[in-house]
Symmetry: D3
């Protein structure tokens, strides 16, 4: 029987112009749904796990679309509450070459941001669950969500559920000070910390020494040091960091490291010609969760997670619609992209 994963957070309507059109050129917007924790749930369901997404969306037809899209991907929506005023929206303009992608958020007052802690029965939710995943976006949504995250973490621990958290700092939602205070309170519950090269600095002031992110050079030792600090400060069993070298909006280098038991493992690095970069970090998180839940060793786990997220960059929209076989084939070294007949 498939292992059960719970993810908790916001899902939004994502609206982006077709192709590389700028917002001011568009007369239609591609409609999809996205959110850090929903992206992870979808990815895990596609890997065959029993993934449930906990959130709240309005009762109207756009809310229905969310439910249908998750169901389509095999995500359990039993704990997806209905109600509230609105679904958060974000507008995305896809960049190309030297022109960066842009995101405009319109997520204030969403149903989940306004949800009350007593709407969620965490003991019921974690009954039979093996893993709980959330990101730093969820507590950033509202004071209520901070409380919910704390209650969820406690309930998860009480139910013997492993907890992973992607730091995912969003400066539009809260200040670094607010983030640090809240996340410092929550981190002790977390078994697996996931971060990109900037999150640790933004949230905890842990810096990757000697690293110039915008210049794109990555310093392996510095990242190991960041992972070590995160691991030691919060007692996490695993820390995983994504390593992105943004050559341009079109071409990125992409790798990752995992740190555990005082030892780091790096994945191979991929040069990716990007189709859609948004959701890349979430697909890494989902790959990592899958591999750790399936008992892979550190090297296999980071290879799987990075291969999974490499593939995500070739897929439109946030959801990483790949199978375990496809990820394993790439992680196993077949990156030639030859036609499969």
């Amino acid at each position: 029987m498939a292992k059960r994963v719970i993810t908790f957070g916001e899902i939004m309507l994502r609206l982006n112009p077709p192709g590389y059109l700028r917002f001011v050129q568009a007369d239609e917007l591609k409609m999809s749904f996205a959110g850090g924790e929903a992206n992870v749930a979808v990815s895990l369901a596609n890997y065959g796990l029993d993934a449930a997404f906990v959130s709240k969306v309005p009762t109207h037809e756009i809310g229905d679309c969310v439910v249908r899209e998750l169901r389509k991907n095999g995500v359990d929506t039993k704990y997806l509450l209905r109600g509230g005023d609105r679904l958060g929206v974000f507008y995305l303009e896809k960049g190309a070459s030297q022109r960066a992608s842009k995101v405009i958020y319109d997520r204030a007052n969403s149903a989940i941001a306004q949800a009350k802690p007593d709407e969620f029965d965490w003991d019921a939710i974690f009954h039979g669950a093996d893993w709980f995943h959330w990101t730093g976006i969820t507590p950033a949504l509202s004071q209520n969500m901070q409380l919910c995250c704390l209650e969820a973490c406690k309930a998860a621990k009480a139910n013997g559920v492993t907890i992973s958290c992607d730091l995912n700092y969003r400066k539009k939602l809260w200040s670094r000070g607010e983030a640090r205070e809240c996340m410092t309170r929550l981190m002790p519950y977390v078994d697996v910390i996931i971060a990109n090269e900037e999150d640790a600095q933004d949230v905890f002031g842990i810096s990757a020494a000697h690293t110039d992110v915008s210049g794109g050079k990555l310093d392996r030792e510095a990242y190991i040091d960041v992972a070590r600090q995160l691991s030691e400060r919060f007692g996490a069993r695993y820390v995983a960091i994504t390593l992105r070298t943004s050559l341009s909006a079109t071409d990125n280098r992409w790798a990752g490291l995992i740190y555990s038991d005082a030892e780091a493992r790096f994945s191979r690095e991929y040069l990716i010609h990007i189709v859609d970069r948004v959701g890349g970090g979430d697909s890494f998180g989902a790959g990592l969760i899958y591999s750790l839940m399936n008992g892979m060793d550190k090297q296999s786990a980071i290879d799987f997670a990075v291969a999974a997220s490499c593939l995500k960059h070739t897929i439109e929209y946030d959801f990483n619609l790949v199978s375990v076989d496809e990820v394993k084939a790439l992680a196993g070294g077949n990156a030639s992209g030859r036609v499969q007949r």
Copy 2:
């Protein structure tokens, strides 16, 4: 030199699935901008008037889209303030035959709803203006907007500007009681009252006796009576009422009456095969404003207004992109739709 009209209200992002797809079938949404008063401004600018739209939209690129779309249509955006948190959104699903169109509003906390009265310099705005148009939607947005409407009406009157108002009751924005109280305070400033067959009842409890709207039968005497009551209660110089017989979401009958100096005139009635019905009432208002500003007599005015709005029903999206010549040709009797080579 073209006469100058000021309209004041909200403009929203309108998102609708292509063709007759339901929301739950869509993977893209057509993007346009709409709002009662903006629709009127666009229509009047297309008729060659100097139309300005007063509102507030965010500084981000979606706000830029609003400015660009209005400029494209020749609307003066000098008094379109920039700032605030968000642009209101509405989702529209186009109905067909027995299936009704549906609108989902997501307009709370829009930039205009949150704008402060002191952001608008009404004396500057009405300098050189000939006409001021607003609808019952604007005061329904917020207490601030109620105050703004009152100040705007006072300033307009002080500047010798004619005022028109489309009652446009929106039950999702305020209760009938709230509407009645506020609108009763504002109506005395209004020279031209525009309403559909239900607004007078909803807002002022003035009923069209013996009329069953859902059954679609229209009783001419009853509508004259409603117009007379509106005119007499508030001292309006003109009252105009749109008369829609909704045979189905696809086919409507459409006519109008104007009442002034204790006399009513009906337009001819059109049987319309609908392309897009939203904005139909606004195009009637714009047609009426144009005709009255150009000194047409009652019969010509109502004929122009109804022909203008008849054409709107054949045009996608809210804006009525027709010329004075096209309206006059239809009002003059050429409804055959023969190809113009």
Copy 3:
């Protein structure tokens, strides 16, 4: 807890040119999935029932699409087998006005047509089920499917499950003689017989006297007589007949009758401006099943079924994506199609 319905049959890939393009004009085809019994399952799931679809589709990605589409609509796919060589395809060209719609079938050797009887564990399938629905298309697919239908009917009866069957004669799949022989064997198990104005004649030689279908005139007495004959010959508790008057490919009149306990009830007749006519009969069947499962009386049941299928004609693709509330509103008399804000 929602009642459980099992439907059994083929689901195909439906490919149609956009809009009213002819096949020879198309360079893209709209992709959806359809089949009489799947259409019914989707409709019932959208009404809130626990609907499961029993069939077989290949293991490749196009088969995955079927599963995902059904899951999206809330249909239980536990008994949707995977395997076999191919998914059936049909090409549909939408007609307009005097130009008829055309269907090209490419369904031979589909996974379900080649499935073996022992692949289906009917006792497990009907465990906890309340209703079983199939159509005359299923046994027409292959000898194996004839056997499966018989076994399914027997198992359903043994499990106390009510059985409905839509005759749905398809001349491309079998001859009238083959159909009569097989269906005569299966009908005794059926509690609710559904047919259109031609099926009874095609399959059983039961004629609607004095009726000229192509001319479009319907003779109420004749149809009652057909229903009576069907009912009496096979001992069905209910017989329901759809009554279509095809004015053109664009405009149809649509009604239905139900016959039970020697008494017939007709629905009101709708004049429908068609968006997509395919799946119209299936939406009638689903409406009827829903209403009978919910204990509606004959008049309410036929009104619900016909209103449901009226709405289907306004929706693209085969699936009838409407809610119980929407059907009831129309059945209750609100056919004006006015915008719902």
Copy 4:
């Protein structure tokens, strides 16, 4: 072996916004190719005749598109010359309901308008031909084309080829006086004259007495009188007139009459819900040519021609992509538009 038809005239690039968008709303234009005589050639090729189109288009890739599109439809392009400066363009905005369709021509200086008479070897062209069709548009293009038409008619006659001409008056191309002078010179060669209800008046001052075209009422006797006058003045063996009642841009009534041997026959009249009305007259001409070439009697011929053009109104773009079987089915009375499975 298929009979051979030659048509001669201009083919243009047709550019129209998708659906019912106005020009000012479009950001893309549907691309097709059209022209009175090319439309007829395509229609006849689709009926199985050996149809050749004589014209001239530039050597660039847009000219290649013309050749490819004609070849696709089975039209012989051996005498389609390559060269000249440009391909004519027309922009089409599709009307709906009371809003008329609009055509903007940009056809001056096209390759065919500037072609020289000595570029066409008419004796070679008419070798083995049975029928020659042209319209009043061709000589209206330029003085050279007037000369070409005359030479072509003479050569056709010399080769025993039957000649048909659709009067097709285009006021943007020449005055009524110019048209009358030129067409009066050419008509004596014509065996079959085709006209709509206005052409005879515009070109020859022959009026349909008591007929108010814009009001849409058709007076059968008046049209017979027009046909008789055309027939008698120019000695044509057949005169055929299309009878359009334009209820709106969406709904037209459509019929035709044929006059020969002092006797007139009317077709049945169709009420058409229009998909694309442009090319309707040409499809009538092609239907008439096909039926006369196949020896149908007057009633059958006019029934075929009108049924053919009725179907054209349901097909996007100018070309009438229907088969003889489809036309015969409709002419034979099956206008119900029922799905053909």
Copy 5:
């Protein structure tokens, strides 16, 4: 007068999601037609040769689409038989970067696979022909097709027609053993053998020593050795091999070699940014046939063939829609892609 080429094989409906969408994301499929031998015929017709395609497609409208598409490209369809049950279909998902393209075949029981040998009159077909091209796919379709290939080769030889064959091994259609047995029987008739880097191994067990295809490194000597073995074993006058280095699904290196008279020539290698890779091998074959038919020397021939197929990779769908001038410009060294005004 243009030289005449006959190609013989299957043409299928190709259905692919737009852009880089995965199958499970698509709601429409781009529709085109493709098949190894049809692709070659289209390419050669675009080069100005008289190319005929011999096959069989159903009589329905999708079959009509095949005929029209071939005619559009100037391919002679006189020997394209009509009839049979179905047209083969393949679904294509375009890969990107590290994600491979996928092909799902649904081609069993196609009209051509089921065609009988006596349906083809090879002596008539080869009358006046100069070249005959087929691929290893054709005999793999069915026993009948194996027989047809043999008869066709014999008739071609008897008529003095040069024969080329692209080995094109398809493991879904037959085993390596079956392929070897059949192809060994057919090869002696072949003058020009075309293969990619895997075919010789798959079909004949002829290996390219020291070459690791998936790693992408090409060993020039090894390929010459393969060509020599093929040439010597079957006595072919020319052997040509395509050399693809798949850096990713987006970027490939592409070159070729030709072997004749015990001497090999390599083309230059192109680094291609791929638009659509499918049909790349066929465009090489067509380029080679064109160049050899036009008497080019070995170096010119391989340069032309590789430049032609390089351009194919930049064109959507299977057909290589380029002119001889375009190929020669690239083969001549102008690969800068500068705008041609």
Copy 6:
């Protein structure tokens, strides 16, 4: 208050197939408007300058589209005359990799080419203006336009307006001899000369020694020499040259140099993955004008101009829809294309 710029030239309808489709594959064309001087005006208006475009377009709806598109971008259309026969058209096929983009012009007899000198009141036009920009395309349109350019330059000088000119040689419009004669007459008025690597040679025979453009190698000294010659021959204050290395239609290197006061400055060079290359030179011109009008030093000016045009290559259609902030961010070194949230 914003500085005022006048640009003068032709604006055309640009029609291109979607994506990478070839002309012969398209059934729709993307519709936009473009022209060297209009592109510059749009770019400058987007930078916040008061930009007016002087030209002439027809009175029909396609001409309306031009006005609306310019207004949308904030360009002053007061001096955009209406009238004349036609709007010029150009067809663009976007290339990829080794396949070059193609442009087919159909611009003869456009409204602006046929405009008379006395239609333009240059003194009124230059009233309050700071800068005048035109390109070598304008005088190439017609003798009248040569005269207009001369009159415009004289009036600009008389009004103290700075003049810039992009040489922009178009061989389809005039010969090198004609260009040299005319441009030699006009250059003395020009303060800022803009050219690409071929223009100086084509128009004035000034060669970039030792430079092989098609090979893509750029020789910095040679370009400085060309700039020096241009500057010295015509006494221009600034000469700016764009340096394009066309690796393929997909990937270009792009840089620029500015020469003034006997000193040259080069920008950094960008490797661009191209979205749409057309309008690249115009965006450079606009960037240069903006930077010089804002008093930037040579290095800053060339950096701004090249960054601006680098971004243009990532934007669909001719207009460079970027803000000053976006250009400055890139010019300041942030070329990583990271997502901006």
